[in-house]
Amino acid sequence: MITFDDVVKVYPGGSTAVDHLSLELPTGKTTVFVGPSGCGKTTSLRMINRMINPTSGRVLIDGKDVAGQDEALLRRKIGYVIQHAGLFPHRTVLDNVATVPMLLGKSRKQARTAALGLLERVGLSAEFASRYPAQLSGGQQQRVGVARALAADPPVMLMDEPFSAVDPVVREGLHREFLRLQKDLGKTIAMVTHDIDEAIKLGDVVVILRQGGKLAQIGTPQELLDHPADEFVAEFVGRDRGLRSLSFDTAAGLPVRPLTEDLVLDDAGRPIRWSSGEPTGGSFTVGDSLRLVTDLAITSPVGIAVRVDADGRADGLVPHHDLVDHLAERRAAK
């Protein structure tokens, strides 16, 4: 657990970057700091590994104040991933990943062997090991950055806008990879992003900061979407937060109607089109989110979303108005 205890950071010149911040980052979870520029999110992150020292207050890792600890030794126990990866251009991919284990006194051979395993972990084949960072794409560099941070198996990871320098398609892939890795590893992660969608997608806990380094709200993504503390948070999580909040509920509770002859099926029972000739525009399963169902119902030319089973066979229909009724009940229940 990482604890911020009444932390204040005032820069020389008098601007306050972090203003009496007190919060806890739970062990084994991803906590995402998000907010507009100048909200002190990066400053907060960098106070955890003493890249910045607080003006007053304390930052503790598992109850131990970081202020009393040797900077270099502290940092070797904390994984560090930054925007653009910040790889060493003069070292091969493998030696980049081996950096911290070697700082910790591992032999070059041991460190390299471990590094090879880590590359695989982040989805890079062994052929990348001997390349130099300049020969890699942005997405690949960022994977190496993550592998490098994981190399000494630190319990805590700091990630400063790790995915913001890559294009949306690559970012999507890195997000999936991140969630898969974190599911396996269960690190205590502090991440900074300016992208609220990323925060909601990756964070177990989201910390929203406002300008001047004040805490606006801390909570799970769904809490923030469903119950924003004030106008600022509501504004920040976006006008379509109602729709986004549907991402967290599955279609399991949604009533379906039996199939009608209007839906044309193939021999295996899979939907092809509507008898009027209109396409179905896709289908959903029980495990999909309400957001997807809503999207299907809205975009369907006949206003009906089609549910299929695991094998892709149609097993129910959700007309537009049934969905609206269900959403109304859901709202009333909250």
Partner: protein, 216 residues
């Protein structure tokens, strides 16, 4: 004017005083000494200024001032102050090599990608480790180009040593002029030029060897 002096085998004896090989040797000796002393002085100062950002006006002005200082004039001044000998020559040549080495060391450090340095610190490298394992290797290409231009300049300029009675390839120029032997002057000019090319080639090879392929 002809190449007879250059191609006369008698001038290529390895043992005779004043033979071309002997003159090359003494010339290279002045060059190497000046480069070593200049590097010892300029490199740490340039690295410090580049690393801390403090005193960068010094690095820039030293570069400009050093370039505009006439080496021959400085040499004569030093001889007046210190008398004849190797010392005034080395001082004049060292003053010549300091600016390019200092400015390139400074420039190499200033143009480093600060994100990489930030990552190095954040991963737990100590300041000296950041300097030697990250900053220096990354700044090396720029620093080497400064060193190579210093070497080229000093190879050409080390001919002034002959003006104050020392050896070096300047002997061929000065003595040749004194006795109107232009074939000898031409031989001196050609050998200096070839020596400059060869030295640059050696340094280019050294650069290939010490600079990481990742930085090319």
């Amino acid at each position: 004017m002809n190449l007879s002096y250059l191609f006369d085998a008698a001038h290529w004896s390895l043992t005779d005083d004043g033979s071309i090989p002997q003159l090359i040797l003494s010339h290279v000796w002045y060059v190497v000494l000046a480069l070593i002393i200049g590097t010892i002085i300029a490199l740490p100062v340039g690295l410090y200024i580049g690393h801390t950002g403090r005193g960068s006006f010094l690095a820039i002005n030293a570069g400009n001032a050093g370039r505009s200082l006439p080496t021959l004039g400085l040499l004569m001044l030093m001889v007046t102050l210190l008398g004849l000998g190797l010392t005034p020559v080395l001082i004049a040549l060292t003053v010549l090599v300091i600016p390019p080495i200092l400015t390139s060391a400074y420039a190499g450090m200033r143009t480093l990608d600060h994100r990489v340095v930030d990552a190095a610190r954040g991963m737990g490298m100590r300041p000296s480790q950041v300097l030697f394992k990250v900053e220096l290797p990354m700044a090396l290409p720029v620093m080497m180009s400064g060193f190579r231009s210093a070497a080229l300049q000093v190879v050409a300029t080390a001919t002034v040593a002959a003006a104050v009675g020392l050896n070096g390839l300047g002997r061929l120029l000065i003595d040749g002029l004194a006795v109107n032997d232009y074939s000898r002057v031409l031989a001196g000019a050609i050998v200096v030029a070839v020596l400059a090319v060869v030295l640059d080639l050696i340094l280019a090879l050294a650069q290939r060897w010490i600079v990481s392929p990742g930085l090319r």
